[in-house]
Symmetry: C2
Subunit: 109 residues, 2 copies
Amino acid sequence: MENLFSPLPGDLAGEFFEPLAGTRRTRVERIVSRGHASPEGFWYDQDEHEFVVVLRGAARLRFEGPEEVVAMGPGDHLTIAAHRRHRVDWTTPDEPTVWLAVFFADEPA
Amino acid sequence: MENLFSPLPGDLAGEFFEPLAGTRRTRVERIVSRGHASPEGFWYDQDEHEFVVVLRGAARLRFEGPEEVVAMGPGDHLTIAAHRRHRVDWTTPDEPTVWLAVFFADEPA
């Protein structure tokens, strides 16, 4: 058994991504951010859907098509459809922001 | 956007299962327990793998083959392989226990 909150990675020079479980079509990941944002002008454009929840900390996600900015705190979750462009605008510098993300593919046709 | 902790279901006569996201091969569920346990002699025996994390509260899971009892608190997570028999032995009566579970199937052969 492992814990999402302990230990937290000591070196957060970059965002920290850790695969926790999954198969080829499903991946569960822990993400830890601290003051990180996506690089200027960078947008995620993923082949998979993503369920994401913030468990600690605070973050802002930005979406395109339609434009939307969502502030997230502990417990807040949403599902990002495949190919909906999004970026991390902000995470709080005050404490680590711990996310749990589940990536899942559509059924084969 | 929704929140895992608010609102909590008011009526917890039984455990509360809420699908949050997924497709046929992947399901993300919120589970809320309060003093619940699996029925005496009941074992889950699932076709899918299950990643499960306790986010609030406290619980004990029991496994067979090999026998194992695991006490879980906030942030603790583990992955239960398909067909590993398990049951919820105990959840705290003092507060709601909030779980997040991700069920995922093996790749087709």
